[in-house]
């Protein structure tokens, strides 16, 4: 028995070392930094211990803006991208002929570089000297005056950011959901058909519960991913996100560390801890909700 335990720990050791060094230690460190006031990396000194860092960033308009942006982004993109992916996957599962072609097409954004996709969005939305962007060109057909999606009003910029995020995260979700749908045993559908079940009811009562573990996985990772959004905003609005009112929490953390007015590891740590607490809370709520609605077999 003891010999077995020793072996098991031995096998776990590499993963534990890496997790310890690169995950657990930094996490603890960040937690400590967040309570050390005016910590500087170069001298490794601080002036006091307390909650000053938290109260500072919670009053910092840039942080509040970033928090608001992130929450809006999460609330809009997670349900929309998951719902749309589900629709598309069900559609893909019910066609036969060019299914593989469509599967490939829908997967393409996943293997495309984020910044390249950003560039495409620029062409679509950014006004140039010659035109107001492709989308505005299209909108003008309906007599709508051009909107500056990149440098204009807040709702327009948020719309582009959400659209971009949904576009980027959907391929993976579609991939997972198509395979989840394909793995549902066909005889369940046959059984339901013989019993006269309507298509809507089959979807609600059989398909959804059957793929619920995968759906749940996508929702949890979707929440976490959206809370950690940063590169998407950079791809669209450049690095001056505070000026563009499009910063996110991770962007704020980055700015606090390395940005123009950066060099504040204590503030960055406090912001990071707040993000961590939010994500942890949401994930716990998700797990609680899932107990009732997710069916593992």
């Amino acid at each position: 028995m003891e010999n077995k335990n020793f072996k098991a720990w031995l096998y776990l050791l590499p993963a534990m070392i890496f997790l310890g060094v690169f995950m657990v230690y930094p996490l603890i460190d960040v937690f400590i930094y967040s309570f050390e006031e005016n910590f500087t990396s170069s001298s490794q000194t601080y002036t006091g211990i307390g909650c000053e860092n938290y109260s500072y960033i919670l009053r910092d308009p840039y942080f509040l803006q970033a928090l608001k942006n992130t929450v809006i982004l999460v609330l809009i993109t997670v349900p929309l991208s998951t719902g749309l992916s589900l629709l598309i996957s069900v559609g893909l599962a019910s066609i036969k002929r060019v299914r593989h072609l469509f599967q490939t097409v829908y997967f393409l954004p996943y293997v495309t570089n984020t910044l390249a996709v950003g560039l495409v969005f620029m062409i679509l939305f950014r006004p140039t000297e010659h035109s107001a962007g492709l989308v505005n060109l299209f909108l003008s057909l309906f007599g709508i005056s051009p909107i500056d999606f990149i440098g204009g009003p807040y709702f327009a910029k948020m719309f582009v950011l959400c659209l971009y995020t949904i576009w980027v995260v959907m391929p993976f979700k579609i991939l997972i959901l198509t395979s989840a749908l394909a793995s549902v045993n066909k005889t369940y559908y046959d059984a339901a058909r013989v019993d006269g079940t309507s298509r809507a009811r089959i979807f609600r009562k059989i398909t959804l519960p059957m793929i619920s573990p995968m759906l749940f996985y996508l929702i949890i990772t979707g929440f976490i991913g959206a809370f950690k959004a940063y590169s998407d905003a950079v791809a669209l609005f450049g690095t001056e996100l505070n000026v563009a009112e499009m910063n996110t929490i991770v962007g704020y953390v980055y700015d606090m560390l390395y940005g123009e007015g950066g060099g504040f590891p204590s503030y960055a740590s406090a912001a990071a801890i707040i993000l961590f607490v939010i994500v942890l809370t949401i994930t716990c709520i998700n797990l609680l909700v899932s107990k009732k609605h997710v069916h593992y077999n």
Partner: protein
């Protein structure tokens, strides 16, 4: 409700590019299933028996032919409008629902004037659960049930909406040997009590023989023989049916008929006054052998297996298709065996003679 199949044919398009001809799964199947009977579709795998079942259920549509439930033509009706209950080979119980919810599921689909209240549904589900004796398991999930219990739930779910026809696809194949015996009796009992016309598919001849009112033996999509189990066993119309029914299987010999007598090798075993001369197959049921020191058929003794009630004598003969001839003899008058060879006389009604080319039965 009687079920009539009229010239039923199902072709599937070929997936093999080298051989583009359609695959004929069911070929010109005509049969009337009497009201309230239990019919077994029997045949080796790939003979079209499951396809036939799916045609009756409506999950497949026939290429040609018609299906009637009573006087109603249901050929073009989708499965949900036919009023069939189908029990799948793997039961297809919804794993995320409890036994109760599984059984209620078909009732919840009812619309309009058939719509039931929650209490009515519960009562119906409980009644049917009592019939199949699972009423104490209503709150369990399928994964918490044994194979036999799952099978009962599946039957309950198929029966709860009182279908006009009950269809069972290989109902016993996922059960172990002992449970199989029990469950087949159970199926017979449930069928008797409900009086619902029932069709079931099996590749196990013993299963089909033991509970069916009628059996249909199929091969390559074509019906070989229809009849009461004992009739089909006693009077097989061709070699395939003779070989397919019975355990241990029938013993087939190369034989010939000369001057009104049946010869296996040089041994003259039977008088066959009605048959023409020629090469034939002679098939003898295991119970068709009588140990007789003056018997005409001489075989080499290989082993004697004692099975309690009976003894089984394993012998060999160069003219037999199989390596071993199995004969069953009652242990009460077990003879002393010790020599290298054994002699048999054959029971006339247990010997069937078949044409070498068509494999059809020849009257002897």
């Amino acid at each position: 409700m009687k079920v009539v199949l009229e010239n039923l044919t199902k072709k599937f398009p070929s997936r093999n590019k080298k051989n583009p001809a359609d695959v004929i799964a069911v070929n010109n199947f005509t049969f009337e299933i009497p009201d309230g009977s239990l019919v077994g579709l029997l045949g080796p795998s790939g003979c079209g028996k499951s396809t036939t079942l799916n045609l009756i259920s409506g999950l497949l549509t026939p290429t040609e032919g018609k299906i009637f439930f009573g006087e109603d033509d249901v050929t073009d009706l989708p499965p949900e409008k036919r009023g069939v209950g189908l029990v799948f080979q793997n039961y297809a119980l919804y794993p995320h629902l409890t036994v109760m919810k599984n059984i209620i599921f078909p009732l919840e689909n009812l619309k309009g004037k058939d719509k039931l209240t929650k209490d009515e549904m519960r009562d119906k589900a409980l009644d049917i659960a009592k019939l199949v004796q699972i009423d104490t398991l209503m709150d369990r999930k399928p994964s918490e049930l044994s194979g036999g219990q799952q099978q009962r739930v599946a039957i309950a779910r198929a029966l709860v909406k009182m279908p006009r026809v009950l269809l069972l696809d290989e109902p016993l194949s996922n059960l172990d040997a002992r449970l199989r015996l029990q469950t087949r009796e159970e199926i017979k009992r449930i069928q008797r009590e409900t009086g619902i016309t029932t069709v079931f598919v099996t590749h196990d001849q013993e299963e089909a023989m033991s509970i069916s009112d009628l059996i249909v033996v199929m091969k390559d999509g074509i019906v070989q023989q229809v009849g009461k189990p004992q009739e089909v066993y006693d009077e097989p119309i061709n070699l395939f049916v003779a070989k397919f029914l019975g355990t241990p299987p029938i013993n087939v010999f190369d034989a010939k008929i000369k001057d009104g007598r049946l010869y296996i090798g040089d041994d003259c075993v039977l008088d066959t006054p009605n048959a023409k001369d020629g090469e034939v197959y002679a098939a003898v049921r295991p119970e068709g052998f009588i140990l007789d020191d003056n018997g005409s058929l001489t075989c080499k003794l290989k082993a004697v297996e004692v099975m309690g009630r009976d003894i089984s004598i394993v012998s060999s003969n160069t003219n037999c298709h199989a390596d071993a001839i199995r004969s069953i003899i009652s242990s009460e008058n077990a003879p002393k065996l010790g020599t290298d060879s054994v002699k048999f006389t054959l029971k006339r009604n247990k010997v069937f003679v078949f044409d070498k080319v068509t494999e059809a039965r020849i009257d002897i």
